[in-house]
Symmetry: C2
Subunit: 203 residues, 2 copies
């Protein structure tokens, strides 16, 4: 993903199929409920065979997690493209928020019915592993490139893990918010707090 123009047509098509399958899984989840979707439905909705589906994902949770993973990959790309003179955490915040904006997540809060499905999804134990497998390294590499550190150093790993922490905490607040709130509002607040060093709110 880091250098999209250098990807061959074949690789590009693979990414498109992966994204289409993940979108189909999410659509079906919102229509029928998380517990009522199986891989046969997802493959059919995306217009591919179950065999093709199995080449991309080994569980429905992986398919459902992929949209979020793909947002993380896009964020890493965008971070590499932000102006070099921009303060690091401004660049990080804009790079992380932009894929949500592009997906329409900032247009308004979700309906309670949609939020109930998303809440089931993100609190499923299977999701931790699915998320964890897909993220982190690309973002760490982008932070390292930007800050003149090595991807094996503590610093870029820590920044990537802190951004992930902001995502985890913001998602947790988002899926339990009553009334529903816009996810990017919470995420932006979380990233700002992290960049301020999470000062004690009493002080």
């Amino acid at each position: 993903m880091a250098d999209e123009q250098s990807l061959g047509l074949r690789e590009r098509k693979k990414l498109d199929t992966r994204r289409a399958l993940s979108d189909a899984a999410l659509e079906l989840m919102l229509e029928r409920g998380l517990e009522n979707i199986v891989r046969e439905d997802i493959a059919a909705r995306a217009g591919v065979s179950v065999r093709t589906y199995n080449n991309y994902f080994s569980s429905k949770f992986e398919a459902l997690a992929y949209r979020q993973i793909e947002r993380g990959l896009r964020a890493a790309d965008l971070l590499r493209e932000r102006p070099a003179e921009e303060p690091l955490w401004t660049a990080i915040t804009e790079a992380v928020i932009a894929p949500y904006d592009a997906d329409g997540a900032s247009w308004g809060p979700p309906t309670p019915a949609i939020l109930a499905e998303v809440r089931k999804l993100v609190t499923a134990p299977e999701m931790y592993a699915a998320f964890m497998r897909g993220t982190g390294d690309e973002f760490t590499a982008a932070v390292a490139a930007r800050t003149g550190t090595a991807p094996t150093d503590l610093y870029p790993k820590l920044v990537a893990a802190a951004v992930n922490a902001a995502f985890i905490a913001a998602t947790d607040v988002y899926v339990h918010a009553d009334p529903p709130q816009i996810v990017t509002t919470i995420l932006r607040r979380a990233l700002t707090e992290v960049s301020r060093g999470l000062p004690d709110p009493r002080v």
Copy 2:
């Protein structure tokens, strides 16, 4: 764990058994290698039946993860006991480091052979889920109590997730360090960076 004195004898005995099983699992891992231990060995080493073992853990990874989870629970207890006037991140850092010190992790770097086993352990995909299930809520509650926020607020969730991020990044650096380093040295550095808002190292 939050109020140890109020725990009944029965509950206390359960925690002791859980800890003994986890210690036995870690001892055996270091002696024989991660891939060569099964639950029968762990139960025998701890002097309990396999049936008892199965009441506490559903996989060897859960047993191996528990020492770390238990350190997180101790850290949450210690955070509640730190002086109220102490700056938040000083209190957090001391509370997180103390259980490692108590377990002897600060005495010196591990041998390369021990580190190789620990590296296999923490990079096993099964470990993410095992860690994730056991941590977070107690620490979030302790931060909330200390900072006058609600455990459902963004702030305490974010602090707990950021501490977890520091642990994840520090562990990753620790298990790949060559020559081996003391884990608490790296962890303390990570927590300091987080409390400083992870400023760009170039600036």
